[in-house]
């Protein structure tokens, strides 16, 4: 997190705001609610209080405008610059302006007014942009979902340096941290190849790792696929049909690039898994055999992608066929005749041909750490 020069902040905890005008994209009540929710994001974690006034000059004046809108910082038409806000101070200090040339929404269409407002009000209170790609104060717009917003830990730490903690945080232990790819304790949720790149899933993020690159891009799942849950259990690529399948609970989605394939999500028992299975831990497609392995607890199933049926004589115990990798699997992928099984902070390189472990590596070594 970062602050403005001289760590500008409001000297008082009780602040007023006024909605000067409205966007035609939404009902007035939707705009009122978006701003109210956006202020609550910050009042929940500080002693700050926000009171709306409907006339006169408030500390934080909120307005919609396009192009040059009176502050010599013109907007630029659709997309690009979405909004801006001024750091705490008199007159225009604290004010927030939203670009009327954008399409404002209460969901993933256009730009979500609540999410942008929560970010801008962070500026109005004294936060600058954060370098943490998972932070609300990260400068680039990322749709993170429409319900259950939790202020990321980076933002909480920053605002509490300025104003201290509140005494009424409804989610004190749930503020999500952005995963560190080189953490020695790194564990993974899922992993898959996608058109030659690796996609490594952890919490609400995935890293994109290009084979020739050392640096991995950290991206929020929702910013690519708003309809997919913000955490997944398993993933695999069926390169025969250029689909990536993502699993969460009893559902799974087939993706073709950015698009969700028609007819999904489906239920995992449609693959032939018993209805008693509530979720899968990991999945890996073995291109040589055309089989996909699904790992659930201490057991695994084998699915024949060509005939689209679960193979007979399954489930089998993981330990029987993959001795030494442990009794459960977090994530798995296959490459060049090896299956890489991730179990906690370790990964096991298993040779499909000689049916034994060849190497044991740290999970974070996938990022060259």
């Amino acid at each position: 997190y970062n602050f403005f020069p001289r760590k500008l902040k409001w000297p008082q905890n009780n602040l007023t705001y006024r909605i000067v005008n409205y966007t035609p994209d939404l009902k007035k009540s939707e705009v009122d609610r978006a701003f109210r929710k956006a202020f609550k994001v910050w009042s929940d974690v500080t002693p700050l209080n926000f009171t709306r006034i409907r006339s006169g000059t408030a500390d934080i004046m909120i307005s919609f405008g396009r192009r040059e809108h009176g502050d010599f910082y013109p907007f630029d038409g659709p997309s690009g610059l979405l909004a801006h806000a001024f750091p705490p101070g008199p007159n225009s200090g604290g004010d927030a302006h939203f670009d009327e040339d954008e399409l404002w929404s209460t969901d993933s269409n256009g730009y979500n007014l609540f999410l942008v407002a929560a970010h801008e009000f962070g500026h109005s209170l004294g936060l600058e942009h954060s370098r943490d790609p998972g932070a609300l104060m990260y400068p680039v717009y990322t749709y993170t979902g429409n319900t259950g917003f939790l202020l990321p830990d980076d933002d909480v730490q920053g605002i509490q340096v300025l104003y201290g903690k509140g005494d009424h945080d409804p989610h004190p232990d749930d503020h999500p941290k952005t995963p560190e790819k080189c953490s020695p304790n790194l564990t993974l949720d899922a992993i898959t190849e996608l058109r030659g790149e690796m996609m490594i899933f952890k919490d609400r993020f995935f890293w994109r790792l290009h084979p020739q690159m050392v640096d991995a891009d950290l991206v929020q799942i929702k910013s690519f696929w708003p309809e997919i849950p913000s955490k997944i259990d398993a993933a695999y690529e069926n390169s025969e049909n250029d689909h990536v399948l993502l699993f969460r609970g009893r559902k799974f989605w087939a993706l073709n690039g950015y698009d969700i394939v028609e007819g999904y999500p489906k239920k995992i028992y449609e693959l032939g898994l018993p209805r008693s299975v509530k979720a899968i831990d990991a999945a890996v497609h073995i291109s040589e055999t055309g089989k996909t392995l699904f790992f659930v607890g201490e057991k695994y199933w084998s699915y024949d992608e060509n005939s689209q049926v679960m193979e007979k004589d399954y489930p089998r115990f993981i330990e029987d066929d993959f001795p030494g990798i442990g009794h459960r699997v977090d994530a798995a992928y296959q490459k060049n005749g090896y299956i890489y099984f991730f179990n906690g902070a370790l990964q096991f390189e298993f040779s499909i041909w000689s049916e034994r472990i060849i190497r044991v590596l740290n999970t974070n070594s996938i990022f060259w750490c």
């Binding site: 970062n2 910082y73 806000a85 970010h119 801008e120 370098r131 058109r195």
Partner: protein
């Protein structure tokens, strides 16, 4: 996402550079340069570009590359990334 087997050109047009310059002016306080000081401005452009690349964890080259240009095009907040 990786685009399946299409090649993509990577040279930048004059408009691309003008776009990048506007971006750096808005977010990294790149100052407009009086005409005729092109060489100096080139240095400023490169140093501001390095600042932006460092902020976003890109390869810090001071040269406009595909990743940098792609990130510049993403919708974002209008507040500068460096406090002035």
């Amino acid at each position: 996402l990786p685009i399946s087997d299409e090649d993509d050109s990577d040279e930048f047009t004059k408009q691309d550079f003008e776009f990048a310059e506007r971006y750096l002016k808005t977010h990294y306080n790149l100052l407009s340069n009086p005409a005729g000081l092109l060489r100096k401005s080139a240095g400023t452009f490169a140093s501001k570009l390095r600042e932006m690349q460092a902020f976003f964890g890109l390869d810090v080259t001071g040269k406009l590359d595909e990743d940098t240009y792609e990130l510049m095009q993403q919708p974002r907040c209008g507040v500068p990334d460096v406090g002035e």
